[in-house]
Amino acid sequence: MDPLNPLAPPSEGPEAIHKVPATPPVIAPGHTFGTVTDKISSIVLTRKTPLGWWLGFGLASMFTFLLMMSLTYLVVKGIGIWGNNIPVGWAFDITNFVWWIGIGHAGTLISAILLLLKQTWRTSINRFAEAMTLFAVACAGIFPLFHTGRPWLAYWLIPYPNTMNVWPQFRSPLIWDVFAVSTYATVSALFWFVGLIPDLATLRDRSQSRAGRVIYGMLAMGWRGSSHHWHRYETAYLLLAGLATPLVVSVHTVVSFDFAISILPGWHTTIFPPYFVAGAIYSGFAMVLTLAIPIRAVYGLEDFITMRHIQNMAKVMLVTGLIVAYGYGVEAFMAWYSADKFESFVPLNRFTGPYWPFYWGLLACNIVLVQSLWIRRVRTNVVVLFIIALIVNVGMWLERFIIIVTSLHRDFAPSSWGMFNATFWDWSTYFGTIGLFLALLFLFLRFLPMISIAEMRAILPEARLDDDIRVI
């Protein structure tokens, strides 16, 4: 690949002899500053809202109402409406919390880590992947918040001077989680908003309606594209990426500490932090693909979200899927190698215990199926990829369910064993958050540019300066 122009398809070099199919470009040829700006901003400003948007938003809103009803009923009756009870004190709530947080991680990976690694292809997917992060974290936050049982007292988790003279317990991983997740939510929101500022200025300048000019104008804060401003902006953006990179690794590490710090067999293991982070990225990329494939088709964005993006995401899924498979292997190996009968009972119980269909289902979804991504024809078929991504989402949900429920339901003393059965309200809260997530995403697609216009301009061939200018 030409290092100066990552957009150009690879030249006919020696590899052409081996008939390697050409890598698709990051942006379809023929685009200019003007066309990129117009195409992306028209989705928000001028184009008619597609019928699919109304149907999707309507359906997502119905599930959001289901969430509201479920949470209202929960506040009225207490968390007894959920199926979790001793010994399974954590079930759907924490499963869903970990699942949603994990999904968010791909957004930060794409926006921060791939930026630091100078992966140009991230540009057209980072904006909506970051939006996905924010909405996923919002959905995640609902579960621990309501699992406290008294969500109106959740501010007790924050260290603030109070008349009870009580302070949070900083030796507990649960308070680490409060700090990790709230920092993650804040930094993700900042990163997303900073990225939006120049595009909000574009929308302000291009909006035909007064309301649009006023609202986008206030959000753009008077951005005028000054060279001095861009310089500080770029510095801030790069620093944020550098800060978000260790942050995203720390967040799922801390989430895994919620389990690993305890002494419960199945939880008390050192493989958890790396295995949780890999699993998070795995599920997150599956969710980005689940969203990107229909969005590019509905909005006709095949020029910007090209097959290059789709294939790269499929490859990231394959790699992280293999790390997750390694994690399962090590978990089972360590249980056997520990020669501890409680530890070695955990995998046995997962393979053959009452929840065996979930465990085998998880292996099929997360390990077996994803191996098909080794085949190029699968990676280039969007319909098949969409289905695989959906199944990986299910598989990663099952993984968290297995980790949480099967470890809790049979611990040391058989006299304290029990079973967990989900209730209607468990399911309704879960599907409700999916509705909330999608409803927020639909609003985002309608009112904000889903692709970073400023960053797209910068990677156009037009933006390349001649070498005599570059030297100075």
Partner: protein, 179 residues
């Protein structure tokens, strides 16, 4: 005609980034110092061509991060060992390994807030009014046009001469920016 005090500067409009960078270089060679370039995306070469100093933002972020780090740790120490000492599983009151995750998160949070608020503050944003928006064509600065504005505050600024100078740079148009 507008008097000098009511003029913010003169603005030349260009079609492509190379023309703007060249124009900025020429203006600097010609002795202008008080000017700014406007582009729809960041151009590193433009920053160099204008001779602008490197930002102090990294220092702001470093200080923010260090304060977050120290503050986060001190908060945990004070709360766990001084204000509310509890014996948890026989661990020492100052059980520093347990304080690392929250210290780390506080560092990142404070540094990220410093990066964003510092960037906005150094850029003088939010700024509800700026004279460059008085030029109607400036709306294209956020689409596909490139602008160079030599400000009236420049010691070498002269309405006639500066306009003539800007005309030599092959702009699409030179407009007067009202203050």
């Amino acid at each position: 005609m507008a008097t000098r005090s009511s003029i913010y500067g003169l603005m030349a409009e260009f079609d492509d980034p190379a023309a703007l960078v060249t124009a900025a270089q020429r203006a600097r060679q010609d002795g202008y110092s008080c000017m700014d370039g406007y582009a729809p995306y960041p151009i590193e070469e433009l920053h160099h061509a204008l001779g602008s100093p490197t930002t102090r933002l990294p220092l702001v972020v470093l200080i923010g991060g260090l304060l977050g780090c120290g503050g986060g740790y001190a908060m945990q120490y004070w709360m766990s060992a001084v204000a509310y000492p509890l014996n948890i599983g026989g661990k020492p009151l100052h059980s520093w390994p347990a304080f690392i995750p929250v210290t780390f998160e506080c560092t990142i949070l404070a540094a990220a807030l410093s990066a964003v608020l510092g960037m906005l503050a150094l850029n003088g944003l939010p700024q509800p009014y700026h004279p460059v928006f008085n030029v109607p064509r400036f709306a294209l600065a956020s689409r596909n046009r490139f602008f160079l504005c030599i400000e009236a505050a420049d010691p070498k600024f002269d309405l006639e001469q500066t306009r003539r100078f800007l005309e030599t740079l092959n702009p699409r148009e030179v407009s007067t920016v009202a203050d």
